[in-house]
Symmetry: C2
Subunit: 276 residues, 2 copies
């Protein structure tokens, strides 16, 4: 029997359309390989982009065990990490972690579209990060958002209720309780972001950060990382920031907290400039 799967970003509408068509659902298992950041063109013919990425296998109630097994085998063959969610659970999850953030990021970025260039010139990393995904393809996202409109609207409506409360507080900052209400929402944001797993599946905050100032020229970063390798310290993550208008780079090195002191002292001994 032929097995049918799909790789769409939304699962419940696909299933309900198949139901409407009277299809044999026992040989259908929805799936959603969460690779390529849902940007157009990324899936162009490479199988290795699935390695280590979540792959949601979304069986329906009628899916046969052998059909599920084969879709799982495909995901595992491609090196993906299996996640099992039914179509409703899947759509609720992606509305929260992907579709609503996309919309909110786009709405924030839209505020920049007709503002003064001199204002935008003050942009820092915070704005870049919050609006990065707003560069995504609108045609693709109209499809995704409309196919999952119900779940996305639920998340966005709840966010709007919080936004209304903040706006009321901002418009009456001298009123008793206004600042406390804003503070409560900011704390709720702290709590929410602390629940996001890090890239390794660990909390991102479990790493210690060491910032080094290096000359912004070829080979400097390689030299730094080579010396870190020689000391035997494993880098868990790395970001590279260039200073504006100065020929220096500011790599941020993330390591396990237990080796952070060693990293700082070893690098300092070797003449590197630690700046954070």
């Amino acid at each position: 029997v032929a097995i049918v799967t799909d790789v769409a970003s939304v699962k419940a509408t696909v299933l309900s359309e198949l139901e409407l068509l009277g299809t044999d659902l026992s040989r259908y298992v929805g799936s959603h390989p969460m690779a390529g950041r849902e940007q157009a063109g990324t899936l162009s013919g490479r199988s290795d982009i699935f390695i280590g990425r979540p792959w949601v296998v979304s069986a329906n109630e009628a899916s046969s065990k052998s059909a599920v097994d084969q879709v799982e085998a495909l995901a595992l063959d491609l090196g993906a990490s299996l996640v099992h969610l039914n179509p409703v659970e899947h759509d609720r999850a992606v509305a929260l972690v992907s579709h609503a953030p996309q919309l909110i990021s786009s709405l924030m970025a839209a505020r920049l579209s007709d503002s003064e260039a001199t204002d935008i010139a003050l942009a820092g990393q915070g704005l870049r990060d919050t609006t990065r995904i707003a560069a995504s393809d609108p045609r693709l996202w109209i499809q995704i958002l409309s196919a999952n409109s119900h779940e996305v609207a639920k998340v966005v409506s709840a966010l709007k209720a919080d936004l209304d409360q903040v706006l009321g507080s901002l418009n009456a900052v001298d009123k008793a309780g206004s600042l406390a209400a804003i503070g409560k929402l900011l704390e709720k944001g702290n709590l929410g972001v602390s629940r996001i797993p890090g890239k390794h599946g660990q909390r991102a905050t479990e790493y210690a950060k060491v910032t080094v100032m290096i000359d912004d020229k070829p080979g400097e970063l390689a030299r730094l990382l080579t010396e870190i390798g020689e000391v035997g310290i494993n880098l868990e993550d790395l970001t590279l920031e260039h200073a504006t208008g100065a020929a220096v780079g500011l790599p941020e090195l993330f390591v396990m907290p237990t080796v952070a002191d060693k990293l700082v002292s070893e690098l300092t001994q070797r003449g590197w400039k630690i700046v954070g």
Copy 2:
């Protein structure tokens, strides 16, 4: 004559309080060194964190030339890049590029505070980026938001109007024009994000991206960067992504588009695996 400056994140309220006190404003020049990402503790005793960062010098109408000169000299001595904005312009700019994004990021993150852990487990880089700054200190941000409440409310109100429109469309996706309305806002987001300068002050999109798959072990990244240095290619930016549940790392190398093909062919020749 003693010169007075300050380093607060909001400028108009500081000035108006000094006016109310009847202070001699000729020797006051507000300033805002935009370093340290406004996180607590970062400014702890280091002068080198200002290098290459914007430093807003916000003279008032009464500020004497010598007072402005001295504050500028301080900023330049510390290696910062000077930006001149009057207090009202400054507060409008930071409301747009910093304060509103902070609030929106916190409101999105707040949605994660009481949701299912299994839903959050599907989080990808998009959610991490849009909510990263929501980890900031609420006590600090209550002060900033309330001191700049008027300008922040303006940005957030406009965003709310867009949000209301999207919600209406999501709740009626089958209605004529609904998808077009969502698409228009997503395109406005595209336009907005394209106006943000890159870390070097260039557009971030001017770089070409090459993703390499490496073994997730000490020394591999250093070896890769050493070889790139040997080829004489300058890395403009670098991000490092670890695959979930697989011992591989996925460094994304950003280079000038003119050298991207050379980078891919040189790395391939040397046996590196290019995956994007």
